[in-house]
């Protein structure tokens, strides 16, 4: 607004001042990001357009993608992995947001004693290695040594759900801390004012606090989506690369691993692996774009 009111003449005469320090601050991030993220990503996309023919890698355009999506065997595996991946994310979305919010609300309750202890305890699993989490839960759920008679991790009907909940258990600290940060950031005047207006605790939470948390729920969900679609380690640790039984726990990460690196007697294919990786990237991109255009731009924000 102010810029457009300024007389035009004053800008024409002045050369925009070169600010070398901007480059200095930007350069390391741009450089590192380009070398380690952008370039490999572009290169793997390039790789996905090649295929070995008689021992030589030749350009084949989109043939790999056509093959991945039309070959009955491969496309079965691929869509199975995508579907499982979406379920994996769905469980996170449905379970971690309410529980994270509940924990955050409890933590921010003014009457709570030992807040720091609870906060730490709830956050600790997030800092643990996935290998440890997988191992501990495998023991807890083991029919041989654990507390559960039913082979939850061994049946195709329960394995994926169990693994998703294990992952929620591990990462619940992140939504909790983010929600908590918003909750304690809400100015007291706002809450006092609503109390003066006669709102009860329930109304204060839903009418005042919740609208302020909503953007954070969006952020948490999109972070979770990206992390879940890239997930690999937990499934690999607990179920191995073949993600049994009957590929019931196979997600895109494990499918990519088998395709790219091979498995046992199966030879890996770097070009087909790159194709799967590119599809993963596109799916994640689609999800993130959906978030930005379908959610973040429409949501109402309040300046505190």
């Amino acid at each position: 607004m102010t810029a457009s009111l300024r007389p035009a003449a004053s800008r024409v005469g002045r050369r925009p001042r070169f600010r070398p320090h901007l480059w200095v601050f930007l350069a390391p991030a741009v450089l590192i990001y380009t070398v380690f993220m952008v370039y490999p990503l572009l290169d793997s996309m390039r790789l996905s357009m090649f295929a070995p023919r008689d021992g030589v890698r030749v350009f084949v355009g989109l043939e790999n993608f056509v093959h991945l999506l039309t070959d009955d065997l491969l496309s079965d595996r691929f869509w199975n992995a995508v579907w499982n991946n979406l379920i994996f994310f769905g469980v996170h979305f449905v379970v971690q947001n309410p529980i994270g919010l509940l924990l955050a609300a409890l933590l921010s309750a003014p009457v709570l004693r030992g807040r720091a202890t609870y906060r730490t305890l709830l956050f600790i699993p997030t800092t643990l290695s996935v290998v440890i989490v997988g191992f501990i839960w495998q023991l807890i759920l083991s029919p041989a040594w654990g507390l559960v008679e039913t082979p939850l991790l061994g049946q195709s009907s329960t394995a994926l759900l169990t693994l998703s909940l294990m992952s929620v258990w591990q990462y619940i600290g992140i939504p909790m801390i983010l929600f908590y940060a918003v909750l304690i950031g809400i100015p007291d005047e706002l809450l006092e004012a609503s109390r003066v207006d006669g709102a009860n605790g329930w109304q204060i939470f839903w009418r005042v606090k919740f609208p302020l948390i909503l953007p954070t729920i969006g952020i948490v969900s999109v972070i979770t989506y990206v992390a879940n679609m890239n997930a690999f380690d937990l499934i690999y640790t607990v179920k191995g690369a073949l993600a049994g039984p009957d590929f019931a726990t196979d997600i895109m990460g494990t499918l990519f691993y088998r395709t790219f690196f091979g498995f046992q007697l199966q030879r890996g294919s770097s070009t087909m692996g790159a194709t799967v990786a590119t599809m993963m990237f596109l799916l994640i991109l689609a999800g993130v774009l959906f978030y930005f255009y379908g959610w973040q731009r429409r949501i109402e924000r309040y300046q505190l």
Binding site: P20, H21, V24, L73, Q138, P151, G244, P245, D246, F247
Partner: protein
């Protein structure tokens, strides 16, 4: 106020300096290693030649250094051999990179079948068909390191693992049971153990490979007549949905009643622990378990080969070729490397190796005496039974879907009861038909 030049330039300058200092020491670490391998020519001045063995068996480092190599050095004091293992998971990739870069050792431990075959076809391994002593190995032993047309052998077969069943003798003695010879006996034994509230068979299907390797490939050869059936599958004369293969899945499905509770979620380490803690009676095993079980179990163990199905008179065992050793085509010392390889074909090597690593059996036809009675028992089965290897390993796992992966999945599912034995056999056959011409 104009800024002094120095101050204006300071920030970019620092940035550039940082970047330069970061790049300064990025020397390729491999540059340093290469001359050490190539430059010394292996001569240490007193006519001694250095050879290096590449291997994935890092568990065996001590045995090679303390037992096997000293015996060789005694006879060939002018050749110094070093055993240089890397992690099993990384071996294939690391070896390929080293061979391509010309820094690999003189002697190469060979994975069976296609991995080694590709190295040979890429010119990294030398043909050893005319190596003196090679005649000590029969066709089954050579099968893992031979070209598809059978003309060239490129690795000396070193060790195999044998499948069978290990059992807890205390449980057997207590219940007055005997080693079952036929499948009928086997089921009777299992029923009797189950009646005593002991887990009869210790195995899980969570990791899938045990169902295929210790289940399907363990008992299978008795159904498809070992090598005969394996070759017939490769030649397209038998199909995976033939009765013989369906029967293997049938028998496998019947195991479900005898496995531990919740076997669907029991992993390989779980079942190893269950058995060595004495909580089960019979363990479908590979001979490689012997050393570990000896350490962990405080009861005596016995072993029996896969029981014979009805109507089968001849027994077959899975005597699976697992480790071989070959020669780097780029070695500076082909003469000495051949001398070493020749030594690995001898009875002396076989005896040393088999006794140091109970459960890994020499593949040569020298008669070997083993100190470990249990390992000896496995080895004795070779006298009566015909040897064969896992039927998915040669040629048949080259396409999509991968037969070996399919067998893991199907065997586990058959035991879990989520697929019928015949349907499983049909799916394996369909998989083969998709890409394997002789089966189409």
């Amino acid at each position: 106020m104009p800024k002094p030049l120095l101050r204006r330039a300071a920030a970019p300058l620092v940035g550039v300096l940082l970047i330069i200092s970061g790049c300064g020491e990025s020397e390729d670490p491999r540059d340093g290693a290469a001359p050490a391998d190539n430059g010394d020519n292996g001569d240490t001045g007193n006519g001694e030649v250095q050879l290096v063995i590449e291997s994935w068996r890092n568990d065996d480092l001590g045995i090679w250094e303390d037992v096997i190599l000293p015996a060789f050095h005694e006879q060939h004091p002018n050749i110094q051999v070093t055993f240089q293992p890397s992690a099993p998971d990384e071996y294939n990739a690391a070896l390929e990179a080293k061979l391509a870069g010309g820094t690999a050792g003189d002697l190469i431990t060979c994975r069976p079948f296609d991995v080694a075959l590709q190295l040979y076809e890429a010119g990294h391994l030398t043909a050893l068909t005319d190596l003196p002593g090679m005649d000590a190995f029969d066709d089954v032993a050579r099968s893992a390191w031979i070209t598809d047309d059978g003309s060239d052998v490129f690795c000396v077969p070193m060790a195999s693992v044998i499948h069978g069943f290990l059992y807890n003798t205390e449980v057997f003695d207590e219940l007055g049971l005997e080693e079952p010879a036929t499948e009928e006996d086997f089921h009777e034994v299992l029923d009797q153990i189950a009646a005593e509230d002991i887990t009869p068979l210790v195995m899980g299907t969570a990791d899938q490979w045990e169902a295929a390797t210790m289940g399907f490939q363990n008992i299978g050869p008795n159904y498809w007549n070992g090598e005969q059936g394996r070759q017939a599958l490769i030649e397209g004369e038998q199909r995976f949905d033939d009765d013989a293969y369906v029967s293997v899945f049938d028998e496998l499905a019947s195991w479900a009643d005898y496995l531990p509770n919740g076997y669907e979620a029991i992993t390989y380490p779980d079942s190893q622990n269950l058995f060595t803690l004495g909580q089960g009676a019979i363990f479908p095993a590979g001979s490689w378990e012997i050393a570990l079980f000896r350490e962990q179990a405080d009861f005596e163990m016995g072993a029996f080969p896969p029981p014979l199905p009805e109507g089968q008179g001849q027994c077959y065992i899975s005597d699976h070729t697992d480790i071989g050793i070959g020669m780097n085509a780029d070695t500076d010392h082909p003469e000495e490397a051949r001398t070493f390889l020749e030594w690995t074909t001898t009875a002396e090597f076989a005896e040393l190796y088999a006794n140091s690593l109970p459960g890994f059996f020499p593949l040569s036809d020298h008669s070997v005496e083993l100190d470990d009675p249990l390992a000896q028992e496995f080895l004795d089965w070779r006298d009566d039974c015909e040897s064969t290897i896992r039927n998915s390993y040669q040629i048949l796992s080259r396409g999509e879907p991968n037969l070996e992966n399919e067998l893991w999945d199907l065997s586990a599912q058959v035991i879990n009861g989520t697929i019928e034995p015949r349907a499983a056999a049909e799916r394996a056959q369909e998989g083969l038909e998709r890409w394997y011409e002789p089966q189409q």
